[in-house]
Symmetry: C2
Subunit: 193 residues, 2 copies
């Protein structure tokens, strides 16, 4: 009885149905107008199952928003830094350009705050990895301020301004900045990775 948890079969099906329903409803009504009974009905699942698995709505939204883009997808690593960064940032833009994922992110934002376990923590962990590659002329904090932040801000508040070139624009700003003083300030933020 190694784990005791059940991962396959019915559980997995229910989970998939619930995720699907959440995405649908969040897309068409906004994260704030979604309720658990609503999701359960759409998913063809009993509300009790949802309550037992997640406890409450913010938790569920944050959870689903977190594991949507990646379990352990590999970071681009062609040896060409700029290309890798653009590819990475582009993935994020592309992902959140879909209204479903944007709405989920907004829901996750509402649940963020005190704790570090918000739905973007994986992204920050990736930033730390990218910034620590040998020769990277920027710190993880720069990646957060210059690449992640603009993308996420636009996703949440100005989704209609998301363009395919946003990733490249941000990366270029990052790489052409004078590494003034800084670079020693990195890693203080996402130290959990």
């Amino acid at each position: 009885m190694s784990t005791g948890k059940r991962t396959g079969g019915r559980s997995a099906v229910v989970l998939a149905q619930v995720r699907h329903a959440v995405e649908d409803l969040v897309k068409e009504r906004g994260a704030e107008r979604v309720t658990i009974p609503l999701i359960a009905e759409r998913a063809g699942v009993n509300p009790t199952s949802i309550y037992r698995r997640w406890g409450d709505l913010p938790t569920m939204l944050n959870d689903i928003a977190t594991y949507r883009l990646d379990p352990d997808r590999p970071l681009p690593d062609t040896g060409e830094p700029r290309a890798d960064l653009v590819a990475w940032a582009g993935e994020i833009v592309e992902h959140y350009a879909k209204p479903v994922n944007a709405a989920l992110l907004r829901g996750g934002a509402a649940a963020a705050g005190e704790t570090e376990s918000d739905c973007l923590r994986n992204r920050r962990a990736e930033a730390v990895v990218l910034a620590s590659r040998s020769g990277a002329p920027f710190a993880a904090d720069d990646l957060i301020d210059l690449v992640i932040s603009p993308i996420i801000y636009r996703v949440i508040f100005l989704p209609w301004t998301l363009t395919p070139d946003l990733a490249a624009r941000c990366v270029d700003r990052l790489l052409t900045q004078r590494t003034s003083g800084g670079q020693a300030a990195g890693g203080e933020v996402a130290s959990e990775a």
Copy 2:
């Protein structure tokens, strides 16, 4: 009967009490765990009044988050661009460094999306003004990407990394960036101002 609306006296008092209650409760329970009856009780006001005035919770949260920092506060204008920008950005950082306002912002984020009437629209309008001052070597979009975004991102997801020098760091990045190609790309975003 010029307007028909009532702005003074009791209405104003109720409004103030409600705002106060919302801020209290959002601070101590998080925007996601606040309900209208709860607010009404804390404010010493009848729930019906709130339902009638705002309709529902997301609307109210967004509304209160919007008009908290400024009706028509004047933008810094000393003639010294860098100082003005740092003062402006500093106001924003200082404002959202208070947990109350950060929590409200998260609630507003959840309600944002399709429409432009989110709780940061006034900030973007200010960015347009600042970018259009004669001689400003940046566009409104740069101000959004390099100053507003990093601040807001940290407020929502990494509030404990908000430091007093953040404003200056962002402004310096803005002013030392090579105005590469760009500067013609401004104003497409917050044209409502």
